[in-house]
């Protein structure tokens, strides 16, 4: 799978991100919206890893592991945050469903002033 350049990965990430962003806006089901957010997070993860793989490091940093590990570290933490977010988010959806017996996001407009 060598022979790809950075722009290929970035393009894939970009397309996924845009699809996710559009999905967040057009879908009514909060669970699907959540999924779209996960999609966006993954698109970003992909770009992180692609940059980590392709970005040249300066000579001074080249022999330090951290210099090209930070992209992967970011992905690790994104995954951790995503996991926590999903756990809490789905819990909230469950609670809302229990309270109102439906989870249409357009019906959840109690936040308005």
């Amino acid at each position: 799978m060598t022979g790809n350049n950075l722009a290929d990965y970035l393009t894939l990430g970009l397309i996924m991100f845009s699809i996710g962003a559009v999905g967040v806006i057009v879908r009514r089901n909060p669970i699907v919206i959540f999924m779209c957010i996960e999609l966006m997070l993954n698109a970003v993860n992909l770009t992180f890893l692609a940059f980590a793989r392709f970005t040249p490091t300066t000579a001074a940093l080249a022999d330090r592991a951290e210099s090209f590990m930070s992209g992967q570290m970011m992905v690790v933490f994104v995954m951790a945050v995503a996991a926590a977010e999903v756990a809490v988010g789905l819990g909230i959806i469950m609670a809302i469903y229990r309270l109102r017996n439906e989870i249409d996001i357009d019906e959840m407009n109690l936040l308005k002033g």
Binding site: M108, N109, G113
Partner: protein
Amino acid sequence: MGNFELIWWVLALPVIGFLIQSLLGQRIVGLFGRTYGKKVAGTLAVLPIAAAFVLGAGLTLTLLDMPATSRSVVMTLFDWITVYSISIPFEVVIDPLSMTMVLVVTGIGSLIHLYATGYMAEERDYTRFFTYLNLFIAAMLILVLGNNLAMMFIGWEGVGLCSYLLIGFWYKDIANAKAANKAFITNRVGDWGFMLGMFAIVAFLGTNADRFPTGDGRYLSFDRMLPVLASLLSENPGIATLIALLLFVGAMGKSAQFPLYNWLPDAMAGPTPVSALIHAATMVTAGVVMVNRMHVVFEFSPVASGVVAVVGTFTALFAALIAFGQTDIKKVLAYSTVSQLGYMFVACGVGAYWAGMFHVVTHAFFKALLFLGSGAVIHAMAHEQDMRWYGNLRKYIPITTATMTVGWLAIIGVPYLFAGFYSKEAIIAAALGNHHATFLGGSTEFTGWLLLVGAALTTAYMTRMTLLTFGGAQGRWQQPETYEAAHADHHAHADHGHHADHGHHAHAHHHGHAHEDPHGFFYTDEEMERREALEPHEHHHHLTPEYKPKEVPVSMWVPLAVLALLSTGGTAYFMEHHHAFQNWLYPPFGGEHGTGLTMIKGHPVIDPEAVSGHPHGMLGNKMALVGLSVLVMLIGLAYAWAVYGKRLPDKEGFDMSRWAKFRLWAMNQFGYDAFILKLLVYEGGKTVGNACAALDQKVVDGIVNLTGVVAQGLGGLARQAQTGYVRGYALVMLMGGVALLVYLVSALSGGVR
């Protein structure tokens, strides 16, 4: 050089005692049982103080071995405050002044602790009491030992706090709580003055920082500050006056001088050992110690010194007059304390600082003795404090009678035989020979003459007290008809701000509580009843004619005996002989007359020859002054004997309406206390409060409400945008994101390529 590290133990021992009492006290009492537990806890409270005294004595002996001009050692424990270039270490100074006070505080303190183990034996909160006492000793030691104003201020506030805690020891009694509040608040006024003085010094020194020889930042340490202050103030007498007056305000508060004296009589609400320890022997002398420590400031301001002397004189006379109107034995002693403190300030004012300290020491002996004796009397009389119920007690409590008589003779100044004579004589002599203080442009020699009048008054009221207590043919509580007739009045009287020991405390619960605490600020009636049920005051007795006063236990009369011994003339003679005490505090260095200042290891001293002048020159010889003293003493004695020799005069009976106008007036402090309360607390407070409330409601709230109204209006506008539709928000977010990106692209990379 001795082992001056031991000074930390002197400081630490009371703290250790405090920790033991506070953290383990109840456990110890629980561990050893009620009877023995209290004994063990009491012993553990006395021991640290006594040990500190022993260490202090050892250090003093070490100091005595050193040459007189090098008796000043500064010990630093750690860096406490460091701000920019100012550093204030936690440091103590060991010099004659501080060690004198250490000996007084720990010595008398340990005696009083010992006494208190007996006096408070029936108290439920036994360990709490000793917790406070030990903490007080620690704070007082910090005050006297501290080598900078900030440390002195810790002690200053610490003793104030302990005083508050101990006055309000029986805090369930609303009157005690109020007395504690009064003491604390009045002290705050003084502290305010002290702080301002401190700030003035800091500001003054800060603008002249280049005058300091070294740059280690210890600007507030006495050994650094005082020499610089001496040289600076000699050029700026106006600033010297300002600082001196501000510091004196602080001293007024702590040492109960005229405008701020009125907390001290109320402080008699605390247990009697507290009155003896704090309000006679140690804490109230803090002002005198401070003036001695900072005397260089007063030295350069004759005007401020004059004010000090005049205020002292006025206080001495005023309090002595008030004492005539008091019927409570402890109150008489309280006003006598105020009066004697006035003497000390006169000494400081006229430049005889050593005489002030001398009187501090002798007064500590005999006033502690008198207070403890009065405690013994109260103990014997089942917590009855009104002298009008006493009489003929010499028959029942001989030891107390004997020791208290010594105290009485000491305070009235019987020549050569008793301690009070020496110090009082020194003060009056210095005042008469004053050429230091000026007041309204003139010399203050008249203070000496007024003090002689005060001596007569002192003799008179102290004799009155002694005769009413121990004299007479029959105890007045044994006269049933008198007792019955006056009973109701007695109680009504007791309920009105008469602050007594345990006995009274119960009275207030039964009668006055509900009226005195209308808002239920302290306790509701039900709560009081519950507390009463939990903790009955089993030791409250009404005196019946059959009552027989009992002599106090050993632990109480031993301190009395020791103090009586100290109050005799021997110790004072020893100290006064060949100016020993004066030379100890202010060693002679042979300076010229004039300001007569020199620095001994950073601490300025006055040449005793320069300031004490020639007091006897005025009267020709020393014996003339002694003769005058004896004369005024005899006048006082004669008056008191004439009035009180046989019995309680009718015009001081239980019927207040038949009292002499002067006495009623004196009893109410010539209306001063009520006036102050009305002016500052009730009317003045109300006026200021109303003004503040109006300001707050109209102006401040107006501004606040205005912001609210504005925010409401803006919010009403912004509210329109909030639809509550999550997806709508997401869309706006996306739009914003796109806009931001477009901007970034065009701005940072020169447009979309």
